[in-house]
């Protein structure tokens, strides 16, 4: 029904299992590298979720960090105030983010390009203002420290190398699911909407329904990754919904290669590592970051994914 054959699942699954196995020994490299790897995996999920909206459906969002923040605040507050199991909290956080995605998605149906960009940007700012000012609920601008870690039964998930395997499993699972979604009939419909909305409409596709669907899926996984982030770093603040965070996620998606499966992973890896490398030059960090965005967009608009393909082709020859 979804247009995915068993062969696609096993063929794709093979690659993801290989990636999973390849990453297994990573915690041996020490706590620092493990931490970076966890951050890369969390941001890969966020960036891949944005890719559904921007890369495949062709809707630009400058407020994606708001959904990340909604997911993390929901999960945090539920686990701290109502003692809800954080695992469940992460799912509820995703669902609430998706609900907000629906709320933003419906009025945004008719909007495109800069109009949608500014509406989503406004949404992000409003969420940030609410997180700051509803301090009876969110504890205001200072944020929330000491968030309970994920319960792991016998395994202590406060230890980075243990958390790494949780993050790795969730990461591989979500990336695999999103990859399948894009290969399914639904994914092809989304791409058709991106390529030509009117043509898609003329062959009987319910364009509005699928645009809203893209909003919901995208924001759900942004919320889930936000929850994971909250219970890993165990500190969250309203700054998570800031415009700069949305731009951070968007530049991962775009620099990695928009509308490709591995682009967001490449982008999240490059930018997270770059930020770490540039940490000693704190002041100049965004100077380099900004220049990188300009150079990539001017000379390699298809991002690192296309660059990688050129290299692979060269090696094969």
């Amino acid at each position: 029904m979804l247009g995915i054959t068993r062969q696609t699942i096993t063929k794709d699954g093979k690659y993801y299992i290989l990636l999973f196995i390849a990453l297994l020994p990573l915690p041996l490299a020490g706590d620092y590298v493990t931490h970076i790897a966890i951050m890369i995996m969390i941001y890969s999920v966020t960036s891949a979720s944005l890719n559904i909206l921007v890369g495949y459906t062709g809707r630009l969002s400058l407020g994606h960090a708001a959904f990340f923040a909604i997911g993390s605040y929901t999960s945090t507050l539920l686990s701290m105030n109502l003692a809800l199991n954080p695992w469940l909290g992460i799912i509820v956080g995703g669902l609430l983010a998706a609900l907000f995605g629906l709320v933003l998605g419906i009025p945004s149906l008719r909007l495109k390009g800069p109009y949608l960009a500014i509406s989503t940007l406004g949404f992000g700012i409003i969420v940030q203002l609410l997180l700051i000012n509803l301090d009876w609920l969110t504890r205001g601008p200072i944020g929330i420290p000491n968030i309970p870690p994920l319960p792991g039964g016998m395994i202590d998930l406060k230890i980075k190398s243990n958390f790494f395997y949780v993050a790795l499993t969730v990461f591989i699972l979500i990336i695999f699911l999103l990859g399948l979604l894009i290969k399914s009939r639904v994914g092809k419909i989304l791409i058709a909407i991106r390529e030509d909305e009117d043509a898609a409409l003329s062959i009987g596709i319910n364009v509005s329904l699928f645009k809203i669907f893209a909003f919901i899926v995208s924001t759900f996984f942004a919320g889930v990754s936000g929850g994971l982030y909250a219970h890993y770093l165990r500190y969250i603040s309203p700054a998570m919904s800031a415009l700069s965070e949305s731009i951070h996620i968007l530049s991962m998606t775009i620099i990695g290669g928009i509308g490709t499966t591995i682009g967001p992973l490449l982008g999240a890896t490059l930018i997270t590592i770059l930020q770490e490398v540039l940490r000693p030059y704190l002041e100049y960090r965004y100077l380099i970051y900004g220049s990188l965005i300009i150079v990539v967009m001017k000379y390699f608009p298809s991002g690192m994914h296309a660059l990688l393909q050129v290299i692979i082709k060269g090696v094969r020859k």
């Binding site: 009025p107 960009a117 500014i118 509406s119 406004g122 965004y286 990188l292 300009i294």
Partner: protein
């Protein structure tokens, strides 16, 4: 509940801010109308205008209100150079894909380029002038003008407001009457036809960039004397300017001026009733209403 004079004072203050929103928004809408470019770096030219003014005042020991126009011209030149370095070669590509599926990616590419530029310029200001807000004093800020009915505003605010108004009227006349102004409008309507009739469109793009950023920088220089200077000051303004542009209709000059005052007015009123912390939301609520009921802006899309 609220005193009459407080409400009137907030509204007047809002209208004065509105003049600034209009000045920055008009530049943004011109760049959109002529180059089809959503310039997210526009607020940075406002910020640079303030810092250039500060640098001039600091080294020459003059008043911000004298140095503002000079620094605005400098910012205009910087923007033309940036336009040539980053965007010039890409306008043609963007034009060629208009209407096709590739347009979305080209448009996105432009938006990302301006975002990259914005990040770069903000950090540049941070490196050069530091993160601590700078106060720039002007002789005009200390002169308080008393208005009938118990209101008082600094002369700086009043001068800024009238200068913003004057430059908007001057811009309108420039676009309506002069040959260059007509060429700009022709390029906005149909770049290919404009090029065929002998208009050098690349030059028009440079001129448009110059005028738009000079206006923003002028606003930045004057407001810098009233408020304070900090590296991210442009980000707050560009968001407001985009709202102004959408409310007024993208590419519609008169619409932007009207929307600038409307939003300033609504913010003044909203600040009184909902508290200043939600002031920023007022503009977005207006934008959402406009997008809902009149998606092409209050006055429609302009040429």
């Amino acid at each position: 509940m609220f005193s009459y004079s407080l409400i009137v004072e907030q509204i007047l203050l809002g209208l004065m801010n509105g003049g600034i929103y209009a000045a920055v928004g008009v530049g943004l809408t011109m760049i959109f109308g002529v180059m089809k470019l959503s310039n997210f770096a526009h607020g940075e030219f406002y910020m640079l205008g303030a810092y250039f003014t500060f640098a001039l005042v600091n080294s020459l020991g003059s008043d911000p209100f004298l140095m503002g126009p000079l620094s605005a011209l400098g910012v205009g030149l910087v923007s033309v150079i940036l336009n040539k370095l980053v965007f010039s070669s890409l306008y043609k590509e963007l034009r060629e894909v208009k209407g096709s599926a590739a347009f979305f990616f080209q448009d996105l590419r432009f938006i990302m380029l301006t975002i990259g530029l914005s990040i770069l310029l903000v950090d540049l200001a941070l490196v050069v002038w530091g993160p601590i807000p700078i106060n720039m004093s002007s002789a005009l800020t200390s002169i308080i003008i008393k208005l009938p009915g118990d209101f008082s505003f600094s002369l700086a605010r009043i001068v800024t407001f009238f200068l913003a108004l004057t430059s908007l009227i001057a811009l309108y006349l420039f676009l309506k009457i002069t040959k260059t102004g007509k060429a700009i409008r022709a390029t906005a309507q149909n770049p290919a036809a404009a090029a065929l009739s002998g208009i050098n469109t690349n030059r028009i793009y440079d001129i448009t960039m110059f005028i738009s950023t000079t206006l923003a920088a002028l606003a930045g220089g004057f407001l810098g004397a009233i408020y304070s200077l900090y590296p991210t000051m442009g980000l707050d303004v560009v968001v407001k300017a985009f709202v102004v542009v959408i409310v007024g209709g993208m590419g519609n000059l008169v619409g932007s001026i009207f929307a600038g005052f409307l939003i300033g007015f609504a913010e003044g009123l909203g600040g009184v009733y909902f508290g200043t912390e939600y002031r920023q939301v007022v503009a977005f609520v207006i934008m959402i209403l406009v997008l809902w009921f009149r998606p092409k802006g209050i006055l429609g899309r302009g040429g």
